[in-house]
């Protein structure tokens, strides 16, 4: 299952994860957000496609208000790509897999 490759990111493990050497794609989502549910299968596929190259994880905004607030997330789904601990890309709303791959490929050799 591709979903095994998607990590659960929380306020607790967020700093450690983005501080590592691998780029991290964070999907900010919530149960009550319809578009987030639509984006979920695409995020799962990306986790499989970039296995070993990008850490892909989901952060539930209900359960993790600190990180959500820190990055001024006021709309979901939002994807943030971190490299070297910094935000290098941001995608707000729905996007198809090809468009997301183009964004990620700019930062992944």
């Amino acid at each position: 299952m591709a979903s095994d490759k998607v990590q659960t990111i929380t306020d607790g493990n967020f700093e450690d994860l983005i501080g590592g050497g691998t780029p991290v794609l964070v999907d900010f989502w919530a149960e009550w957000c319809g578009p987030c549910r639509r984006l979920a299968p695409t995020v799962e596929e990306l986790a499989g496609d970039y296995d070993g190259k990008v850490v892909v994880g989901k952060m539930n905004v209900d359960e993790n208000p600190n990180t959500t607030f820190k990055f001024s997330i006021r709309g979901i789904p939002t994807l943030l790509l971190f490299k070297g601990g910094q935000v290098v890309e941001q995608v707000v709303g729905l996007a198809d897999k090809d468009a997301l791959k183009k964004v990620i490929d700019k930062h992944v050799a």
């Binding site: 001024s72 709309g75 979901i76 707000v92």
Partner: protein, 318 residues
């Protein structure tokens, strides 16, 4: 590559109803969902005007049921986004990122997408206080003042929904009266948390430097007077744009991009049908979209029956 009898593009009430009817007519339709799977009802909460549900039904639940019902009769529904269509070749060519499909009849049900105001500050702050989806993003504005732009039914629905979270909702409308239905107007006027700025347009949304919404600058179009109002969020509900880029130049559209239909759901290309909001800027209801989806399926079935034998006979392989 096998040729399908019917391909349906779009998965709102129009597309799923077309899938249900063409599946029941044994046409084995393929439906390609599109990016915004389920359509605009996925962004709503309680739908109170879908006949048969006297207490209403949640939009996403209704769409899930419609989808399951179409699948029960053999409609094949796939994820994916159509990247191009070629209506000059026949059978018609439909491309997605994952592959190429051919079909004898095409049903366009791509719907319409929420429009933005077009301000530079608006795009920069999308996801950071500017939103087109109250049900998605209302949560972030608990106890905060916010604004809704627009004067139609969806603007009133968003404003009323957002009062559950926001401390105060300012409706900014460029005219002196609302376009919304009487029942929605009455609900909005009766809500103590909602105030109105009439004859007013948004000039700018602050603060792009900070990366979050802090205020909006309003201009009254009658007096020319400007004022700033402190808000944490701006919800834009000023109407929709039809999703017709794929078909421009191939089927006839009106000046606003809506597909023109005649004699039911027929477009200017034989065997190509359109239903739902992509061809309707007037009624724009779930029930009218579903009704027109049914019409498209019946029109497509009729068209396929009339095809010459050599084009129609591959039906068994579809």
């Amino acid at each position: 590559m096998s040729t399908r009898n019917v391909i349906i593009i779009g998965s709102g009430p129009a597309g799923l109803t077309a899938a249900l009817y063409s599946a029941r007519a044994n046409l084995k339709p393929l439906l390609i969902e599109g990016l915004e799977a389920g359509g605009q009802l996925m962004l709503t909460t309680l739908v109170e005007n879908w006949p048969g549900f006297r207490d209403g039904i949640m939009g996403p639940e209704l769409m899930g049921d419609m989808r399951a019902q179409a699948e029960r009769f053999g409609a094949e529904i796939v994820r994916g986004n159509v990247t191009s269509v070629d209506l000059l070749s026949y059978p018609y060519l439909v491309k997605t990122a994952d592959g190429v499909h051919r079909c004898r009849a095409l049903i366009i049900a791509t719907g319409a997408t929420a429009r933005l105001l077009g301000l530079p500050s608006e795009r920069a702050l999308l996801g950071h206080g500017v939103s087109t989806c109250a049900t998605c993003d209302g949560y972030f504005f608990r106890g905060k003042p916010i604004a809704v732009v627009g004067g139609g039914d969806s603007a009133m629905e968003e404003a009323i929904f957002l009062t559950k979270f926001a401390s105060h909702v300012t409706v900014v409308h460029r005219r002196a009266t609302l376009r919304a239905s009487k029942i929605m107007q009455d609900k909005a006027f009766a809500n103590p948390k909602i105030a109105f700025e009439w004859n007013t347009e948004i000039e700018a949304i602050e603060d792009t430097g900070k990366g979050e919404v802090t205020a909006m600058v309003l201009r009254n179009s009658l007096t020319g007077a400007r004022k700033a109002i402190v808000v944490d969020g701006v919800f834009v509900a000023i109407g929709h744009t039809p999703n017709t880029e794929l078909f421009l130049g191939q089927v006839e559209t009106d000046p606003n991009g809506y597909i023109i239909t005649h004699s039911g759901s027929r477009t200017t290309v034989p065997g190509v049908f359109a239903c739902g909001d992509v061809q309707d800027h007037h009624y724009r209801q779930a029930i009218t979209a579903a009704g027109s989806g049914c019409m498209a399926a019946i029109d497509a079935e009729k068209y396929l029956e009339g095809l010459p034998q050599h084009l129609g006979e591959a039906q068994a392989t579809a």
